[in-house]
C-alpha cells in the first residue's frame, strides 16, 4: 500500500476519531469494599444495574476495606481523598464518623423511602447506629464444620472448646472480638453478664485460660476466605468465619460442610461517604439507588446476608444462580437465630486496643 497523502490523512483522522471517545464525560466512582464473594454480590445487585441505567457513570471496585480507617486518616492528612464510597463495618464507621472523616447523612432526605411510603429512618430503625452510617446488611460470624470428619454432630458453640467431642483442628479469628465472648460463655458466664465479667478484673485472664485449653489445635485466620479454604482442604474440622462465606462454600462449591448457628454474633455492614470525596452528588445519587428496598433484597440473591431494611425482608427470594430459597440461609431467620449475640460497639471501642495487645502477647507465647 502506498503511503501517499490521502492514505496518511485517512489514517490520521480515523485515529483521532478513535481516541476522541464518546461524547459524554464519564465519572469514575471508586467504591471500596471487602473483595471476594461479597464484592461480587454488590457488583451484581448494585453496580451493574446502576451502570446500565447511567452509562456516564463507571464504578471501580477497590478491595481495601480492611484498611479503610488507616487509609482514610492518611488521605485526610494530605487532603487528597481518592475514594467516593466506602463499605465499612459498624465499628469502623463509628470511628470514622467520630473523627470527622465521614459525612453525616440525613436518612429521610438522602435515602429512599420504602415502597409503602415509610421514611428511611423508620425502615432502617435502630440499625442506623451512627449519623454517618448507611446500613446495608446484617451479617454474622459463626461456625461451619466438616460433616464427614466429625464423629458427633456439634450442636453448641461450646463443642468448639471440647477436644474430646470434636477432635481435630479448629480455626478462629486472630482477634479477641467474639473469641472472648464465646470463651466466657463456655466457661459458664450468663449471656447477659458477659461484658461485665470481661470488663472486670481477671475477665481477660479467664477468657484466655479457656482459649488456652484448645490453643495448640487452633489455626488463626485473618481473612474471611481462609476458613472456607481450610475446611475444604480438611485442615480444620470446625472453623469460624462470616456466614456468607460459608454459604458460598456449602451451596455453591458443594463442599461437605454444615453451619453451626449457635451463639452467632451479629454485626452490621454498611456504607459511609468519606469527607472530601470529589464526586459527592454522583455518589449520593448512587447510594440512594443502592440502598433502596429492592436493591437490598437483590443483594440477598447473591449472598446470604440479611438486608438491613425491614421492607426488604419479605422480598428475599431465590438465589440468582442456584435457584434455592434464601430465607432459611439468612442469619436473621428464626431457626438460625435462636441464640445470638450482638456486637457490643461501645465495649470494644473502649477495650479493643488494650485487649488486642494482651491477646497478641498470649498468642506469641
Amino acid at each position: 500500500m502506498k503511503f501517499n497523502q490521502s492514505t496518511f490523512a485517512t489514517v490520521f483522522v480515523s485515529t483521532l476519531l478513535a481516541f476522541s471517545g464518546p461524547a459524554m464525560a464519564k465519572t469514575d466512582l471508586v467504591v471500596v469494599s471487602w473483595g471476594g464473594a461479597y464484592t461480587a454480590s454488590q457488583q451484581n445487585a448494585y453496580h451493574e444495574p446502576y451502570m446500565k441505567m447511567n452509562p456516564d457513570i463507571k464504578i471501580i471496585n477497590d478491595d481495601s476495606a480492611p484498611q479503610a480507617v488507616a487509609k482514610l486518616r492518611a488521605m485526610n492528612e494530605v487532603k487528597n481523598v481518592t475514594w467516593d464510597l466506602v463499605d465499612a463495618v459498624a465499628s469502623d464507621a463509628m470511628r470514622l464518623c467520630e473523627e470527622g472523616l465521614a459525612l453525616p447523612i440525613n436518612a429521610d432526605k438522602d435515602l429512599a423511602p420504602a415502597p409503602d411510603g415509610t421514611p428511611a429512618s423508620k425502615d432502617f430503625g435502630d440499625l442506623i447506629v451512627s449519623e454517618c452510617f448507611i446500613p446495608q446488611i446484617v451479617y454474622s460470624t459463626t461456625f461451619g464444620y466438616r460433616t464427614d470428619k466429625v464423629k458427633v454432630k456439634p450442636t453448641s458453640v461450646c463443642d468448639v472448646f471440647d477436644l474430646k467431642k470434636i477432635p481435630g483442628k479448629r480455626s478462629l479469628e486472630k482477634k479477641p472480638i467474639n473469641n472472648f465472648e464465646w470463651a466466657l460463655l463456655c466457661d459458664g458466664v450468663a449471656p447477659n453478664k458477659i461484658y461485665d465479667v470481661l470488663g472486670a478484673k481477671g475477665g481477660v485472664e479467664r477468657a484466655l485460660k479457656k482459649l488456652g485449653t484448645i490453643k495448640s489445635s487452633v489455626i488463626w485466620w485473618t481473612k474471611g476466605a481462609q476458613t472456607p479454604q481450610l475446611l475444604a482442604d480438611g485442615e480444620v474440622v470446625i472453623g469460624s468465619t462470616y456466614n456468607g462465606r460459608l454459604f458460598s462454600l456449602i451451596e455453591e462449591e458443594k463442599q461437605p460442610v454444615a453451619m453451626l448457628w449457635d451463639w452467632q454474633v451479629f454485626d452490621l455492614d454498611g456504607w459511609i461517604i468519606p469527607k472530601g470525596t470529589k464526586n459527592l452528588k454522583a455518589v449520593k445519587k448512587f447510594v440512594r439507588f443502592a440502598t433502596d428496598t429492592k436493591r437490598l433484597a437483590d443483594q440477598a440473591k447473591f449472598i446470604s446476608y440479611g438486608p438491613a431494611r425491614k421492607s426488604s425482608a419479605p422480598l428475599v427470594s431465590k438465589h440468582a444462580k442456584l435457584g434455592i430459597d434464601m430465607k432459611p440461609h439468612m442469619p436473621t431467620d428464626p431457626n438460625n437465630a435462636k441464640t445470638t449475640l450482638l456486637f457490643n460497639y461501645t465495649f470494644w471501642a473502649d477495650h479493643q486496643d488494650d485487649f488486642t495487645g494482651r491477646f497478641e502477647a498470649w498468642l506469641a507465647k
Binding site: 480492611p66 484498611q67 480507617v69 488507616a70 486518616r73 470511628r95 467520630e98 473523627e99 470527622g100 483442628k169 485472664e205 489455626i219 488463626w220 485473618t222 482442604d233 480438611g234 485442615e235 461501645t346 471501642a349 473502649d350 477495650h351 486496643d353 488494650d354 488486642t356 495487645g357 494482651r358 497478641e360 502477647a361 498470649w362 498468642l363 506469641a364
Partner: protein, 422 residues
C-alpha cells in the same frame, strides 16, 4: 628527564595559567558534571524515599497531638505539681472544660482519647463520654461538675498522665517498643509478663533471618557452582530457571507452599503413602517457624544464587587446575583456592538475603502461624489496624537501627570492600 625539572620552577599551560590551577579546574568540572548526572536520581530518591520515610519515622517521637487538642489545659498543667497529692485547681478544670467542648465540636476529642489510651486503658472511654456530657456543664464550680460527669477526672493519675504526655516530643513509644513503660511517677519498669511481645519478636526475627541466610547459602552455593562451571549454553538455561520464580506472583509462590506443607497436603500424603509417618502423627510443617523458614528460603534463594554466580564466573578455572597439578587433592584445592575467592559473593548474597528477610512480612503472615511471625507483622498491624502509628514508627526505627549496627559489624569483620555483586 623528570630529574632535571626543579621544584621551584612552575609549569604553565598554553594560556598562561599555572598547571596546578588548571588541573584543579578540570577536576572540579569533572566532579560537577558527575554530580549533575547523578543529581536527578538523588533528588528523586530524596523526595520519594527519604522524605516520606523520614516523616513516618519522625512519628515515633512526635506528640504534638495532646498539646494541640488540649491547648489551654496543657499550658496550665505545666505549673501544677502532682507531688503534693492534690488535684489541679478550679482554673485548670475550667480550661479543660473549654478544651473538651471545643474538641468535641471539632471532632478531635476521640483522637486525643485514643492516643492517651495507648498509655493507660480507659482514657478512650473517659474522653468519649466526657465529650458528650460537657455540653450540659455551663456554670462553675467546674471541678465538681466534671468529676460528676466522669469520676476519672477525680483521680490524680488521670491528670498526671495528661501532664506527662503534654510535651511535643515523647519517649513513650520507644519504651513500649521494648516492652517497658515509664510510670507517671517517673520510674521505668518492664511491662507485665503477659504483655511482653516485642523483645522476643526482635530476637525471633534476627534468629530466623540468620537461619534463612544460612539455608539459602547451603542450597545456593552448589547451584551457583554448577552454573559457573558448565558451558554457557546450559548455564544460561539454568539461569533462566533460577530467575523464573521472579516472573510469578509472590502470593502464588507462598500459597503453593501452603498446599504442599499443610497437614492434608501433598508432602504429608506422600509420606503416609510410603509408610514413613502414621496418619495420626502427621508432622506440622506449616503455620509455624518451619513453614516460614522453608517458604522464605525458596523465595530468597535467587538473591543468594545470583551474586554467587556472578563472582564465581570471574574465577579463572586455571587456578584449581594449577593447584591440582601441583599435587593437591581436588577437595583441598577447592577449599584453599576456589572457596576463598568466592567470599565476596557470599558476603554480598548473605547481606542481601538477611536484610530482605528481616523486613519481610507477607510470607510470615501467611505461613508463620503464631510462632513464625516477624516484627514486621506487628509493624504492619499497628499501621493499618490499631492505628498506633507512633508505636509502629518506633518499632521501625529500632529495626533500622539494628540493621545499621549489624551492617557496621559486618563491615568491621568482613569488610565492605570485600563484597562484590559481580
Amino acid at each position: 628527564m623528570a630529574n632535571t625539572v626543579q621544584q621551584s620552577e612552575e609549569l604553565f599551560t598554553a594560556d598562561g595559567t599555572p598547571l596546578q590551577v588548571s588541573l584543579a579546574r578540570v577536576h572540579r568540572r569533572q566532579k560537577l558534571r558527575a554530580l549533575l548526572l547523578v543529581a536527578p536520581l538523588f533528588i528523586f530518591i530524596f523526595i520519594t524515599f527519604v522524605l516520606p520515610i523520614g516523616d513516618m519515622l519522625f512519628r515515633s517521637v512526635e506528640n504534638a497531638i495532646v498539646a494541640n487538642i488540649l491547648p489551654r489545659s496543657t499550658k496550665l498543667l505545666a505549673n501544677w505539681d502532682p507531688s503534693f497529692g492534690e488535684l489541679p485547681s478550679e482554673k485548670v478544670f475550667a480550661a479543660l472544660l473549654k478544651d473538651l467542648k471545643e474538641s468535641h465540636k471539632n471532632r478531635t476529642i476521640t483522637r486525643v482519647g485514643q492516643r492517651l489510651n495507648y498509655e493507660s486503658p480507659g482514657m478512650s472511654s473517659l474522653f468519649r463520654s466526657s465529650g458528650r456530657k460537657v455540653k450540659r456543664i455551663k456554670e462553675p464550680p467546674y471541678t465538681e461538675a466534671l468529676i460528676k460527669a466522669n469520676k476519672g477526672w477525680g483521680q490524680i493519675e488521670t491528670w498526671m498522665l495528661i501532664k506527662h504526655f503534654s510535651p511535643a516530643y515523647t519517649d513513650g513509644y520507644f519504651f513500649a517498643a521494648v516492652d517497658a513503660k515509664r510510670l507517671v511517677s517517673g520510674e521505668i519498669i518492664r511491662v507485665e509478663e503477659n504483655q511482653r511481645i516485642y523483645l522476643a519478636l526482635f530476637v525471633r526475627t534476627l534468629r530466623l533471618s540468620f537461619i534463612i541466610t544460612v539455608t539459602t547459602l547451603l542450597l545456593g552455593f552448589p547451584i551457583a557452582y554448577l552454573m559457573a562451571i558448565l558451558p554457557t549454553k546450559i548455564s544460561n538455561l539454568l539461569l533462566i530457571f533460577v530467575l523464573l520464580p521472579f516472573w510469578t506472583s509472590l502470593l502464588v509462590r507462598t500459597t503453593a507452599w501452603i498446599v504442599l506443607l499443610q497437614q492434608q497436603g501433598v508432602i504429608n500424603e506422600f509420606l503416609i503413602m510410603v509408610g514413613m509417618v502414621n496418619t495420626e502423627n502427621r508432622p506440622e510443617m506449616i503455620h509455624n517457624e518451619f513453614g516460614t523458614i522453608v517458604a522464605m528460603t525458596h523465595i530468597l534463594l535467587p538473591f543468594m544464587v545470583l551474586p554467587l554466580f556472578s563472582v564465581m564466573k570471574t574465577i579463572p578455572k586455571s587456578y584449581v587446575r594449577a593447584a591440582v597439578s601441583l599435587g593437591a587433592h581436588p577437595w583441598l584445592a577447592f577449599w584453599k583456592i576456589y572457596f576463598p575467592n568466592t567470599v565476596p559473593g557470599i558476603g554480598a548474597g548473605a547481606i542481601l538475603v538477611f536484610i530482605i528477610a528481616i523486613g519481610y512480612y507477607i510470607t510470615p503472615e501467611l505461613v508463620g502461624g503464631t510462632t513464625g511471625t516477624f516484627i514486621s507483622n506487628r509493624i504492619a498491624y499497628h499501621i493499618s489496624s490499631s492505628l498506633n502509628w507512633g508505636l509502629g514508627a518506633a518499632l521501625g526505627v529500632i529495626l533500622l537501627g539494628v540493621v545499621t549496627v549489624l551492617y557496621l559489624l559486618y563491615d568491621k569483620i568482613v569488610g565492605i570492600d570485600n563484597m562484590k555483586l559481580s
